[in-house]
């Protein structure tokens, strides 16, 4: 047993004080009576009836001394040490990932984790420094080396389980580095996925009751002539075969419902055909109660993207014209160098052998063989250069592609640009975002290369146009809760905002460039709203929970194994916390005071 505030024993002075007070109080008030004749009989009688009368006479004092002693002990903060808990620094890590929302333990795994952590922190030796870490999509140090228990418990109370997957690798490296700095560190992890760290002995408090769970693990759609075909992948993470009722909602109305038989630990694909083409939001729901509700729903947005308008400014470039015409989602217009006034309202301008003094006010720009201009600097013209390095993005899918250039201008890459084609004499092509507009410049005339003659040409052009005319979101089909999204805001956009599933509207631009949008914890339908001077453009995208990684509540592959069952039981053991005796003592004080009150009122 340790006393953390031994100075409190100074308060033992109260004990003699109480006795002195009693002695002073014992000076009874004088009261003259006619005779003690009867009173002596009374006192004799009282003492005869209760031999311990004298003790009783001082019972109140004894009770008060006991209460004072208990109070002094409580103030001294006695602590019953548990073996191995006497470390100066403790890392308390709590898993805040989606699976912690499972309700297979009372309230939820997360609440249980918080309770256990609360108990651990409360019972720590005062002065112990605690680093509180939350392990969600990001690993956050909520409180670093703090010995203020109140603050720690507040922080702990504020923690919320997220809908994202946990990044255990990050957590491991963070904890590992802290432990390296301070080897006398005790690491306690509260969660449902055990983590082990090479250099540290991790106490893992497993919070799991192996709840049955079903989840929509994937959802996608394709458009056909007859309508949209939707694929929903349903997984049974339970320990029994199950018939799972699944429904498809289209624009929030029930479209179809099916019962799917899925064996334990297996996954079934459910197809829904002939969903009408005008649908904008698809949702798959599992209509059954299980341990984790969040993963019973998944969404898919259907965007009917409009055609981009592109203007080719060229004397004659049949190669570019042909390829751009083939590009899906482009409406191509052609014009000569002279009609400068018409150059507005396009999403993309392709200048061939020419770049006007004043570039158009809107749209992205692709330039071949530019002339002198204000936007960037042209260095020199070289012949037959050797290609050194090609950009991975623009030249993807054409690995090993070999081509030659007859003549090209070398370019000075501006601060906003990035080299995409390096030749021995310098840079032959670059791309970059300038004034929120995507600009791609090639120093050569396409006719002075053999590129158009190769089968790679359409692929390269498609890659270029993909970059120049991006979708509003990369990977719009597979955004998971908690992940950051980089929006490709159109150059024409003046103001952009995102509407969340709960209806909140969050402005993301201005300022430009747009920062990564990370408020994606809530699953469901999000809408990116881009306002230009003339119109408003909306793009729907959905955020789903990472059910692939988080929905398996029992880690079925482990569960099959008997030896791990024993480990499982072992992990269920509560964390060694020691015991703070203060609250027990305070309760005892209350009991003693109640007894005293009873003695006093009943005049025992």
């Amino acid at each position: 047993m340790t006393f953390y505030s031994p100075w409190a024993f100074l308060a033992l002075i109260t004990v003699p004080l109480i006795i002195i007070l009693y002695l002073l109080k014992q000076r009874h008030k004088d009261y003259t009576v006619s005779s003690l004749f009867l009173w002596e009989e009374v006192l004799k009688d009282l003492e005869a009836n209760a031999p311990w009368q004298k003790l009783k006479k001082n019972l109140l004092m004894i009770l008060q001394i006991i209460a004072a002693l208990l109070l002094v002990f409580a103030l001294a903060r006695p602590f019953l040490n548990a073996v191995g808990t006497d470390t100066p620094h403790v890392i308390v890590a709590i898993d805040t990932s989606l699976s912690m929302k499972a309700t297979d333990v009372k309230e939820s795994r997360f609440e249980e984790a918080k309770k256990r952590a609360n108990k651990l922190i409360s019972n720590l030796k005062p002065g112990t420094e605690v680093t509180l870490i939350s392990m969600g999509k990001n690993v956050n140090i909520e409180e670093n080396l703090s010995s203020d228990k109140g603050r720690l418990l507040d922080k702990l109370g504020e923690l919320k389980a997220s809908n994202s997957a946990s990044d255990t690798e990050d957590a491991k490296s963070l904890i590992s580095s802290i432990v390296k700095q301070n080897p006398k560190t005790r690491v306690v992890v509260f969660g449902d996925k055990e983590i082990s760290i090479a250099d540290a002995d991790v106490e893992f408090s497993n919070i799991s009751n192996n709840g049955e769970n079903f989840a929509v693990t994937m959802m996608s759609h394709t458009k056909t002539k007859n309508g949209i075909t939707v694929l929903s992948r349903i997984s049974n993470f339970g320990t029994k075969d199950a018939t799972i009722p699944v429904s498809l909602y289209v624009d929030k109305n029930v479209f179809d419902a099916k019962n799917v038989d899925i064996k334990k630990g297996e996954t079934a694909n459910v197809y829904w055909n002939d969903v009408f083409l005008k649908a904008s939001l698809l949702e798959t729901r599992i209509d059954i109660e299980d341990s984790l509700k969040v993963d019973n729903r998944a969404w898919n947005a259907v965007n009917n993207t409009e055609q981009n308008k592109a203007l080719l400014v060229s004397q004659s470039n049949v190669f570019v014209e042909k390829v751009a015409g083939l590009y899906n989602g482009i409406e191509l217009y052609k014009t000569g160098y002279e009609s400068i006034d018409e150059w507005k309202g396009y999403d993309l301008y392709i200048f061939d052998g020419f770049l006007p003094k004043k570039i158009p006010d809107d749209g992205n720009i692709m330039v071949f063989n530019p002339n002198e201009n204000d936007l960037f600097e042209i260095l020199e013209t070289v012949e037959y250069p050797v290609v050194n390095e090609m950009d991975e993005n623009i030249f993807r899918y054409v690995e090993g592609f070999d081509f030659s250039i007859g003549k090209t201008k070398t370019l000075k890459v501006p601060a906003w640009g990035r080299e995409i084609l390096e030749i021995n004499n310098g840079c032959a092509a670059f791309s970059g975002i300038y004034d929120n507009r995507r600009i791609m410049v090639f120093g050569f005339d396409i006719h002075n290369t053999d590129i158009p003659l190769t089968p790679a040409f359409p692929i390269i052009m498609t890659n270029c146009l993909d970059w120049l005319l991006p979708e509003s979101i990369n990977n719009a089909q597979s955004v998971y809760s908690g992940e950051g999204i980089e929006f490709n805001i159109s150059p024409k956009t003046r103001k952009a905002s995102v509407k969340t599933p709960s209806g909140e509207k969050i402005q993301i631009a201005p300022p430009f460039p747009v920062k990564v949008f990370d408020r994606t914890d809530e699953p469901g339908l999000y809408t990116l709203i881009q306002k230009t001077d003339e119109s408003e453009q909306q793009f729907n995208f959905t955020v789903n929970v990472p059910s692939q990684s988080e929905s398996d509540l029992i880690h079925s592959e482990d569960f099959e194994n008997d030896s791990t069952k024993a480990q499982e039981e072992d992990r269920q053991k509560p964390v060694n916390t020691g015991m703070n005796l203060q609250s027990i003592l305070l309760w005892l004080i209350v009991i003693v005071l109640l007894i005293e009150w009873w003695v006093y009122t009943n005049g025992v």
């Binding site: 009576v33 006619s34 003690l36 009989e41 009374v42």
Partner: protein, 288 residues
């Protein structure tokens, strides 16, 4: 009369009491009282007006002839019954609210007055642990001022040992009435005293006076109880148990005295100092 103890109101009430009260010897009264006068001449004492019920033979017809009123001749020996009033004047009697000393003195005075008016011979004895003071053989209504004077000057001191003191008092032999007024907070033997008085052919009246605070004490805190007589003290802390035990002891105390008195055929009258004197007198006269 200026006395606080006996104001005019009290004295007026005494007269009323006389009409309805008469302390008589219990066992057949007059015949016995007269026996002492046998052989001696009839000693005239006084006249008084005839009242209904008086013996016709005693009417003084000569007086009737002169005054045309019926008078009775009273003879000393016939009516004289020696009445001893033993008043406890220990310190304990000077206590209580209303004070027992006032109640007891008023009672003693009232009983004396009634007796004197009835031509009885009255002796007053104040006692604590010894005979403190006394006057004896008061006769006639005129002696009442002596009684009052005596009563006014009673001092309450000393401890109570009334039983022994009574036995030491030189009680003249012959039948008589003894009235003992006390709180009986004493360790002596009450039975011995009664036996002694009865041996002396006394008809005994035990007047037990207590103050209301002695009957039901009100104690609200820790007290040091100091005996007013001895100065001894006991510390008590008020509690329901204490009060309960007191009540138990008190009733045992009273019933003990009652038992002794009943056993010896003695009149026991319990009274509280808060009672009016006339009520106390009536209780004594009626033997209740």
């Amino acid at each position: 009369m200026k006395s606080q103890l006996f104001d005019s109101e009290f004295l007026r009430k005494l007269d009323q009491l006389v009409i309805s009260s008469k302390i008589t010897l219990a066992d057949g009264a007059s015949g016995n009282r007269k026996s002492r006068a046998k052989g001696s001449s009839v000693e005239f004492s006084d006249y008084r007006e005839y009242t209904i019920g008086d013996d016709f033979k005693r009417i003084d017809w000569n007086a009737y002839g002169r005054f045309e009123k019926l008078f009775i001749k009273l003879f000393m020996e016939e009516r004289e019954a020696p009445i001893h009033i033993f008043l406890d004047n220990s310190k304990s009697m000077d206590w209580g609210e209303p004070n027992k000393n006032i109640a007891s003195r008023r009672l003693a005075a009232a009983l004396s007055y009634i007796s004197l008016v009835s031509y009885d011979r009255v002796s007053l004895v104040c006692m604590n642990n010894a005979v403190d003071k006394f006057i004896t053989d008061l006769r006639g209504k005129n002696s009442f001022s002596k009684v009052l004077n005596f009563m006014e000057n009673v001092e309450y001191t000393g401890t109570t040992d009334i039983y022994n003191t009574v036995s030491k008092y030189n009680l003249k032999s012959g039948r008589g009435i003894s009235i003992v007024i006390s709180d009986f907070f004493t360790k002596g033997n009450l039975l011995n005293m009664i036996n002694y008085l009865q041996y002396k052919k006394q008809e005994v009246y035990i007047c037990h006076i207590l103050s209301p605070q002695e009957v039901a004490p009100e104690i609200g805190m820790s007290l040091r109880l100091i005996d007013v007589e001895s100065g001894e003290f006991r510390d008590v802390t008020s509690s329901p148990a204490l009060i309960k035990t007191y009540k138990k002891v008190y009733s045992k105390f009273i019933s003990n005295i009652e038992e002794i008195c009943a056993g010896r055929g003695v009149n026991y009258i319990f009274m509280e100092s808060s009672m009016p004197a006339e009520k106390m007198v009536r209780m004594v006269v009626n033997g209740v």
